[in-house]
C-alpha cells in the first residue's frame, strides 16, 4: 500500500490561478537558512513566491495552481536539510495579529500627531517669555487642536473602548482614568483656546496616548509572538492520520480533515491522533500520556483508543468517534470544565493598582477644585487647575510599568526554553511556593531509553541498532536511538508480535521478545531488579544480549528539584502510575511527598487541599489526566510533548529534554514581579512629586510634558534590568 500525502486541506486558492501554502519550518535560525530556502524553492519551475519569515520561522509559498504537488515543497526542504510542516493559523492567532496591526496603526498616528503638536508647542512655550503676540499663540493653539483632536479620536480607540467596557461591567480598569483624563484635557483646551487663554494641553494629551500605546503595543506583540511559536509547535507535531480513502487505498491526511465515521490505520509505533474505537486488529497500547500508567493495555475490536496513546505491537483499524464519546475523556472534560470555572479569576497587578489609583486620583482632582473655590478662586480657574491635576496624574508610567517588564521577561524565558501561554502567567508563577509534579512524561522523558548500554559491546549495539531501524516498535526505536545507527540493514523480516530477524554475512540476527531470541533467563534476571524496566533481546548466532529499556528521569531532574527546594519551594509528586514506580522515582529525586495511583479527580482534590492550607501551587504535568489539575492549580506548566488539552490548560510550556526551565520560570518570574513592583513604585513616586505642583496651580503644559516623558523613560530603563537576570540558573 503506497501512501500519498494530501496537503489540499492547507492550500489556499488566491484566485487568478495562484495557490498559497504556509509551512512551519524547523531549524531556520539564521539569514543563511533564509536565503538557502528561498533560493532552493524559487528554483522550482512555476513557483511565483517563496518567502521566509525569520521572526515566526515560517515559509509562504505561492505557485501556479495545478502545476505542482505541494508535497514537493516538503521534499525539497527535506533535501535542503529542513523539516517543514503545512500550517494553518489558529483563530486566536489571526485575532492577535489583527489587533497588533491596529495598535501599531494607532501608535503611528499618535506619534506623528505628537511630533507635529510639539513642533507648535515649543514656540508657544518659549514665545510666552519673548515676543509672541496673543493672536499668534491662538493660531498655534488652533493648529494644535486641528492635529490633536482627530488623532486622539483615532488613536484613543483602544482605551476608550476598554474603559467603556469596564464601566458597563461596573468596574474600573486603568483605561478609565486615562480616558477621562484625555477627554477632559482636550475639552478644556478647546474651551481655553476659544477664550484666548494662555495654556492649552493638546500636546500633553496626545503625548500621553503615544506613550501608553507603546506599552499596549509591546504587550500585544509579546502575546502575538507567543501564539506564533505555539502555532508552530502544533504544526511541528505533524498531527496526521492514515485514512482509508477506499477499502484498499490509504492516504496521509491532516487530523483537521478527519471527520467522525472515517476509518484510519494505526501502525505499530504510531501515536494515535484521534479518538475512536478499534474495529479490527490486535495490539497493545501505551496509554501513559493519558493516564500516567506505564503498563500497556491490550487492544482488540471494540476497545476505545484516545488521541495521544501509542500503538505498540500490532496494526489496528480504528473508526473515528465523536470527540467526547469515550468515557475516560468525557470524565476528564467534565473535571476540566469544573476546574476552569472554579479557578478564581486572578486580578492582575495592573488592575489591582488601578483599582486603588483611579478613586484616589479623581478624589484629589475634586478636592483641588473645591479647595481653590473655598480659597476664593473663581470656578473657571479652579476647574482648569483640577484638570491639570488629572493630566499630571494620568497613569502614563503605570501603563508602561508592567508591559515593558513582561515583554523583556517573555524574551528571557523564551531563551531559557519556556513559552508563555497567558499574559498574567509571570505574576502568578512568581507567587508559587509549592510545585506538584506529575511523574510519567514530566519528571521522566517522554520516550524510552536503553539503560544498560555500558554492559553491551559497542559493535553489538551498533548492529542491533541497525536491525532495530527496520521496526517501528517503540522499544526498538529506543535501541536504534541509543546506537545512533543511521543505515538500516537489508533483507529484514518482521515477525508480528515477536520481533525482527535477518541474515548478515550468513549469521542470523534477531531482535525482539526474549523468547524469540531464546534469552528468557537473562531477561528475567534484569526484569527482577527493576519493576519499571522493559527488555528487548538480541541474538547474533549463538550470542545473546538483553537490552534493558525504561523511561528515564530527565537528566537534570534531581538538580532542578534540589534547586527548587533550596529556594524554599515544597515539591510533591502526584502520579497515576503504580506505587512501586513512583516510590522509585521519588527516592531517586529526594522528594518526600508523593502519591501514586491517583485518578484525575484525586489530583484535583489534593491540590485543593494544599490551597486550603494556604499554599500557592504550581502543577507541572503532561498527561490528559493532568489537564484538570493544571487548570485547578494557581499556575501550571507542561512539557512540549504534552497532550493538546494539557497544553491548553497550562500557563507556560517548556521545551527540550531538561527540567531546568521549571526552575528558570520561577526564578525569572520572581525577578520580573519585583521589577514590576519597583516600576509601580517609581511611577507613583513621580506622581507624588508632581501632584503638589499641579495642586498649587503651577502645572503649565511644559511641566506636564516634562513630568510625563521623564517618568515614562525612567520606568522603561528600569524594565531593561530584567535582561540581566542571575545567570546562576542553567
Amino acid at each position: 500500500m503506497a501512501v500519498t500525502r494530501d496537503f489540499s486541506h492547507y492550500v489556499k486558492d488566491l484566485g487568478s490561478g495562484l495557490a498559497h501554502l504556509d509551512l512551519a519550518v524547523e531549524g531556520v535560525s539564521c539569514a543563511g537558512c533564509m536565503m538557502k530556502i528561498e533560493r532552493g524553492l524559487s528554483a522550482i519551475p512555476n513557483v511565483t513566491l517563496a518567502r521566509v519569515n525569520l521572526t515566526d520561522r515560517r515559509l509562504a509559498v505561492e505557485w501556479k495552481k495545478g502545476t505542482i504537488d505541494p508535497a514537493q515543497f516538503v521534499d525539497r526542504l527535506a533535501a535542503l536539510g529542513y523539516k517543514a510542516y503545512p500550517f494553518e493559523p489558529i483563530r486566536a492567532e489571526v485575532v492577535e495579529v489583527e489587533q497588533s496591526r491596529f495598535l501599531l496603526r494607532c501608535l503611528g498616528v499618535a506619534a506623528f500627531a505628537t511630533m507635529n503638536v510639539m513642533m507648535l508647542s515649543v514656540p508657544v512655550w518659549s514665545g510666552n517669555v519673548t515676543d509672541m503676540i496673543p493672536e499668534q499663540r491662538d493660531f498655534f493653539h488652533w493648529l494644535s487642536a486641528l492635529i490633536a483632536l482627530p488623532a486622539a479620536a483615532y488613536a484613543g480607540q483602544p482605551f476608550f473602548r476598554s474603559a467603556f467596557g469596564a464601566l458597563r461591567a461596573r468596574s474600573v480598569n486603568m483605561d478609565v482614568p486615562i480616558s477621562i483624563g484625555v477627554v477632559l484635557a482636550l475639552g478644556m483646551s478647546i474651551v481655553e483656546t476659544i477664550h484666548h487663554a494662555e495654556h492649552a494641553y493638546f500636546d500633553a494629551a496626545i503625548m500621553l496616548l503615544t506613550f501608553l500605546l507603546v506599552g499596549r503595543y509591546l504587550d500585544q506583540n509579546m502575546r502575538r509572538r507567543t501564539r506564533a511559536v505555539a502555532g508552530n509547535l502544533a504544526a511541528l507535531k505533524a498531527e496526521t492520520a492514515t485514512k482509508f480513502i477506499s477499502s484498499t487505498e490509504i492516504s496521509e491526511v491532516p487530523v483537521a480533515a478527519i471527520v467522525p465515521g472515517d476509518i484510519v490505520l494505526l501502525r505499530p509505533g504510531e501515536r494515535c491522533a484521534i479518538d475512536g474505537k478499534v474495529i479490527d486488529g490486535r495490539s497493545e497500547i501505551d496509554q501513559s500520556l493519558i493516564t500516567g500508567e506505564t503498563r500497556h493495555v491490550a487492544a482488540e475490536a471494540g476497545t476505545a483508543v484516545y488521541a495521544g496513546t501509542m500503538n505498540i505491537s500490532g496494526t489496528l483499524r480504528v473508526r473515528v468517534g465523536a470527540a467526547a464519546e469515550g468515557t475516560l475523556l468525557a470524565e476528564i472534560s467534565r473535571l476540566l470544565e469544573n476546574a476552569l470555572q472554579a479557578r478564581s479569576r486572578y486580578v492582575q497587578l495592573a488592575d489591582r493598582a488601578s483599582r486603588l489609583y483611579a478613586p484616589v486620583v479623581h478624589a484629589t482632582a475634586l478636592l483641588t477644585m473645591l479647595g481653590w473655590v473655598a480659597l476664593g478662586a473663581n470656578w473657571h480657574d479652579a476647574i482648569v487647575i483640577a484638570i491639570a491635576v488629572l493630566i499630571i496624574t494620568c497613569p502614563c508610567a503605570l501603563g508602561l510599568a508592567i508591559p515593558t517588564v513582561q515583554t523583556i521577561v517573555a524574551g528571557t524565558l523564551f531563551r531559557a526554553g519556556v513559552l508563555l501561554n497567558s499574559g498574567d502567567a509571570v505574576e502568578r508563577v512568581a507567587d508559587v511556593d509549592t510545585v506538584v509534579f506529575d511523574k510519567t512524561g514530566t519528571l521522566t522523558l517522554p520516550e524510552l531509553d536503553v539503560v544498560n548500554t555500558a554492559a553491551i559491546p559497542a559493535d553489538v549495539l551498533q548492529l542491533a541498532g541497525r536491525l532495530a531501524l527496520a521496526s517501528h516498535h517503540p522499544v526498538a526505536a529506543a535501541v536504534a536511538r541509543a546506537s545512533k545507527a543511521m543505515s538500516p540493514l537489508e533483507g529484514i523480516v518482521e515477525e508480528p508480535g515477536q520481533g525482527v530477524r535477518g541474515l548478515v554475512d550468513g549469521v542470523e540476527l534477531r531482535l525482539g521478545r526474549p523468547s524469540f531470541c531464546n534469552a528468557d533467563r537473562m531477561a528475567n534476571e534484569i526484569l527482577s531488579t527493576d519493576p519499571e524496566i522493559s527488555v528487548v533481546a538480541f541474538s547474533r548466532g549463538p550470542e545473546r544480549y538483553v537490552f534493558a529499556v525504561r523511561q528515564q528521569l530527565r537528566p537534570d531532574a534531581a538538580a532542578t528539584i534540589r534547586g527548587l527546594i533550596e529556594r524554599g519551594i515544597m515539591v510533591e509528586i502526584l502520579s497515576g502510575d503504580r506505587e512501586l514506580a513512583v516510590r522509585h522515582a521519588a527516592t531517586a529525586l529526594g522528594v518526600v511527598g508523593w502519591r501514586a495511583g491517583l485518578a484525575p479527580a484525586d489530583k484535583i482534590s489534593h491540590i485543593e487541599d494544599l490551597k486550603r492550607r494556604g499554599r500557592t501551587v504550581m502543577m507541572v504535568g503532561d498527561g490528559l489526566n493532568d489537564a484538570p489539575a493544571l487548570a485547578a492549580a494557581s499556575a501550571s506548566m507542561s512539557p512540549v510533548s504534552a497532550t493538546h488539552l494539557s497544553q491548553a490548560a497550562a500557563d507556560m510550556i517548556f521545551l527540550g529534554r531538561d527540567l531546568a526551565p521549571v526552575l528558570s520560570a520561577i526564578v525569572f518570574s520572581r525577578k520580573a514581579l519585583q521589577l514590576m513592583r519597583e516600576n509601580l513604585a517609581l511611577a507613583i513616586g513621580y506622581n507624588v512629586l508632581a501632584v503638589p505642583i499641579a495642586i498649587a496651580g503651577y502645572a503649565t503644559p511644559l511641566v506636564a510634558a516634562a513630568a510625563m516623558s521623564g517618568s515614562s523613560i525612567l520606568v522603561m530603563l528600569n524594565s531593561l534590568r530584567a535582561r540581566r537576570v542571575a545567570p546562576e540558573v542553567t
Binding site: E38, S42, A43, V52, N53, R105, G108, V109, N116, Q136
Partner: protein, 52 residues
C-alpha cells in the same frame, strides 16, 4: 511673520506625508518580519538560479 503662511502648511504636509508613508509600510507588511528584514538588506541579491 508672513513666513508662517507657507511654513505651517508645509510642516503639516510633511507630517502627513510621513504618516501616510508609515501606514503604507505597515499595510505592505514591512513590520511582519523584523528579524529577517535586517539580514535581507545585507544579502547578496544575485538572481535566484537553479543550483548546479
Amino acid at each position: 511673520m508672513e513666513v508662517l503662511a507657507y511654513l505651517v502648511p508645509l510642516a503639516l504636509a510633511l507630517g502627513i506625508i510621513g504618516l501616510l508613508g508609515f501606514l503604507w509600510s505597515l499595510r505592505s507588511g514591512q513590520y511582519d518580519d523584523l528579524d529577517g528584514a535586517g539580514w535581507r538588506a545585507i544579502a547578496d541579491d544575485d538572481p535566484p538560479s537553479p543550483p548546479a
